[in-house]
């Protein structure tokens, strides 16, 4: 069931052409959709460009990545969609004004290790969880 209309700004969910289509109508899923589909993008954080080489020994930087793209019908297995996201997409097709599309977000996050000096010139090696996007999907 659909409750009150939700204030929704972050999700690029509502498209007029979809709003006019009912769930039974055919949606054109051509190859251009693939270009905007939810996927992982490259994003590199450079400690060197921050000017931190004097205290960060390694790494010079790391590929953090980010997720971006549309979570549009049909969500297939390649997009790591949750069951809920699949249902939400269907409901979105029926009520595009009220229910947003699922979000494109990380499904697998990995850790990085950073090796750095402290103020006393002691060296610290620390693992930081959830720093690197390994896979994206629709939630």
């Amino acid at each position: 069931s659909v409750g009150k209309p939700r204030q929704q700004s972050r999700n690029r969910s509502t498209y007029p052409q979809e709003a006019q289509k009912g769930p039974g109508q055919t949606v054109d899923h051509n190859s251009s959709d693939q270009k905007t589909a939810c996927r992982k993008h490259e994003l590199y954080v450079s400690f060197r460009d921050l000017g931190w080489q004097d205290w960060i020994i390694a790494p010079e930087g790391y590929a953090a990545n980010y997720c971006d793209g549309e979570c549009s019908f049909p969500l297939n297995a390649h997009m790591n969609a949750t069951n809920h996201a699949i249902v939400q997409t269907l409901v979105h097709l029926m009520n595009p004004e009220n229910v947003p599309k699922p979000c494109c977000a990380p499904t697998k996050l990995h850790a990085i290790s950073v090796l750095y000096f402290d103020d006393n010139s002691n060296v610290i090696l620390k693992k930081y969880k959830n720093m690197v996007v390994r896979a994206c999907g629709c939630h």
Binding site: H41, E42, L43, Y44, V45, S46, D49, L50, W52, D54, W55, I57, A58, S113, V114, L115, Y116, F117, D118, D119, N120, S121, N122, V123, I124, L125, K126, K127, Y128, M131
Partner: protein, 266 residues
């Protein structure tokens, strides 16, 4: 002067979101990343003794071991039949260290703060002392293991074919008018011709020093020949102040996070 967050070249061509950050924005971003790293400010290390001291080298070995493991995990995920074992060249880190490393959330090395040998009493004139600053250990970290590491070079002619006894003591009390009170932590027989890193487990000692910092009075070592004669550790091949940088004694501790770190809201 470049920006520090950037997309790949191909994405740059297709998007126009890339721009240089203003100084203030860059500072804010730096603060945010420091906060993620659990730091309140940017460290300003005094690298008077060079980056290539034994402690940073050891830590770099551990770092490389971690990354080799990670790479192997990735390789294994692509091809499950591929062996995950590869030859790793560890100059300093031992198998035991790698075992600790897999369990640890944080590893910290500590340089010896004693730069010059102090004149000890005639009874202790061959003792060497070592001190470590543990004040920067973050709260909520539990010491899982700690080692005192000292390098022994091969002794040529003087003690050839002889054994020597190396003892490591914890300083438990200091008074102005008399020798420091020592507690023997470990004694080890070594061949004069032995060469390499010696590791002494000092986990209990470090745990005490972390809980009660005023107990951190340092360590001492002494060396005896097989006939019980005290000799200068340097004569036995033990490297200390004045020796090669990459063979300087240091301490390493492996930590396990006790509690969740919550970032302070800004």
């Amino acid at each position: 002067g470049g920006s520090f967050l950037f997309d790949s070249a191909s994405e740059l061509q297709s998007r126009s979101i890339h721009r240089r950050l203003r100084t203030q924005e860059k500072r804010e971003m730096q603060k945010e990343i420091l906060s993620i790293l659990g730091l309140t400010h940017r460290p300003r290390p005094h690298l008077w003794n060079g980056k290539y001291n034994s402690a940073p080298l050891f830590m770099l070995d551990l770092y490389n071991a971690l990354n080799v493991d990670k790479k192997n995990e990735l390789d294994a995920s692509w091809n499950p039949n591929k062996s995950v074992f590869t030859t790793q060249e560890h100059h300093l880190a031992t198998v035991q260290d790698n075992a600790y490393l897999n369990e640890a959330d944080m590893v910290m090395s500590f340089v010896n703060l004693v730069e010059y040998d102090r004149e000890l009493s005639p009874n202790r004139r061959h003792h060497k002392e070592f001190k470590f600053n543990l004040s920067q250990i973050p709260e909520g970290e539990k010491v899982a293991a700690a080692e005192f590491r000292i390098y022994k070079e091969c002794v040529g002619t003087a003690f050839h074919n002889e054994t020597i006894q190396l003892s490591v003591f914890k300083v438990v009390g200091k008074r102005l008018d008399r020798d420091a009170d020592l507690l023997l932590l470990e004694s080890r027989q070594l061949w004069a011709v032995d060469e390499g890193w010696l590791e002494f487990d000092i986990t209990a000692t470090i745990n005490l020093w972390v809980m009660k910092p005023h107990h951190n009075l340092g360590l001492q070592i002494s060396v005896q020949t097989s006939i019980g004669e005290n000799i200068n550790p340097k004569e036995a091949g033990l490297v200390s102040q004045g020796g090669p940088l990459e063979k300087q004694p240091f301490m390493v501790a492996f930590f396990k996070v006790k509690e969740l770190h919550i970032r302070t809201p800004r």
